[in-house]
Symmetry: C2
């Protein structure tokens, strides 16, 4: 249950770096690109590497500072488990899939998540992953059906000798029957990362240009 074993691999690689002389070690392989419109704005902080990426952010905080993570998770979320969709959520997602949705953008994921949240706990990435996985698995199911019909209708024994090789990776997308999205369309997805540590939560705002970090109401924890 609690065997998370965080152990992120930011090793203590920066301890024995005596002084950071970055910026002139090894540049781009091309020409020295003269800096942009707003680079080096006369007050460049010298990149205090000691303060950022501190190597002991992983295997700490398992004995003291969390006294409340045992109180409110007993029925809703059993810790760090994965998303377990309810039937209603699956139904809605499949309905959307049958409607033609394949790769929802950020706003669509937002709305879908908000709606599916009424039926159970869900996050945005669950919706994203669901569409990715469902699309991929429908595709390979279709592919498996297609080359299973002209080779041997049954006999699930030894079928691997025919080397389902690398062809028809892109041609087999047009035979879906229903309408499908064009491959590799450029949609700006604009997703962001978010710190999900145990005691501090930050949320970066990507839409803003000022790149601000703000802790979100710590009285909730």
């Amino acid at each position: 249950m609690g065997s998370m074993k965080v152990h992120q691999f930011a090793r203590g690689f920066w301890e024995h770096e005596p002084s950071l002389t970055l910026g002139c070690k090894r540049l781009r392989p091309l020409a020295p690109k003269l800096s942009n419109t707003d680079s080096t704005p006369t007050t460049v902080p010298p990149f205090d590497l000691k303060s950022f990426i501190r190597p002991e952010s992983g295997p700490r905080k398992l004995g003291s500072s969390d006294d409340k993570r045992e109180t409110a998770h007993v029925d809703t979320h059993p810790g760090g488990t994965r998303w377990n969709p309810t039937q209603e959520q699956i139904g809605i997602l499949e309905m959307l899939y049958r409607g033609g949705m394949r790769t929802p953008n950020a706003q669509q994921i937002e709305q879908i998540t908000a709606q599916l949240g009424k039926y159970g706990k869900i996050e945005g990435k669950n919706v994203f992953y669901w569409f990715q996985n469902h699309k991929a698995r429908e595709r390979q199911k279709q592919k498996r059906n297609n080359l299973g019909l002209n080779h041997s209708p049954r006999a699930p024994g030894v079928t691997t000798t025919t080397t389902i090789s690398s062809s028809l990776t892109h041609e087999s997308r047009g035979d879906f029957g229903r309408e499908e999205d064009s491959p590799y369309k450029r949609k700006c997805r604009s997703w962001t990362f978010e710190c999900l540590e145990e005691d501090k939560r930050y949320c970066r705002n990507e839409g803003d240009r000022t790149l601000e970090l703000f802790p979100l109401h710590p009285e909730n924890r």
Copy 2:
């Protein structure tokens, strides 16, 4: 400039859906999974599909509600262009890469982005993509060097005919020389999506379980 042409492909496919009988259409291929601990909390909203994923959320709002997207983007970001890293940013990223960082997690990306933001405009996904691309291209450069030494040492002319085919996809990962991260380690990344529409910005809090949406200080725009 504003030729985004959003045109999201959630068509008007749900207008002619008379009543939503979701939840009993297609179950798991195995037994009917009886619902979880907190599914159907006695007040299931009947999934008002009309209100969510409205089909005309794409090509609207280009004449009225955005009067400010022409004012504040003239020098910092020329619209929807991609990230153009500065030399300092590249230097720091390569330094981190040489230090062994391959796939930073959310918190590391957070901090890296915050630091690199001092040298120019950058977002979290740029850092993520940079590590992805740099790792992949170092890998294929290594691969190309490895099988270029016993085939043809130069001839940069027609190089695409040699078809670096699909073998040694997993064996060629151990010959990096330096230390590398083990493939497929499970790190909980916990990234989230974010609405980046023109007039409204939401930020979902993934760490919290209540899945709340909140607009972040609209007086800034």
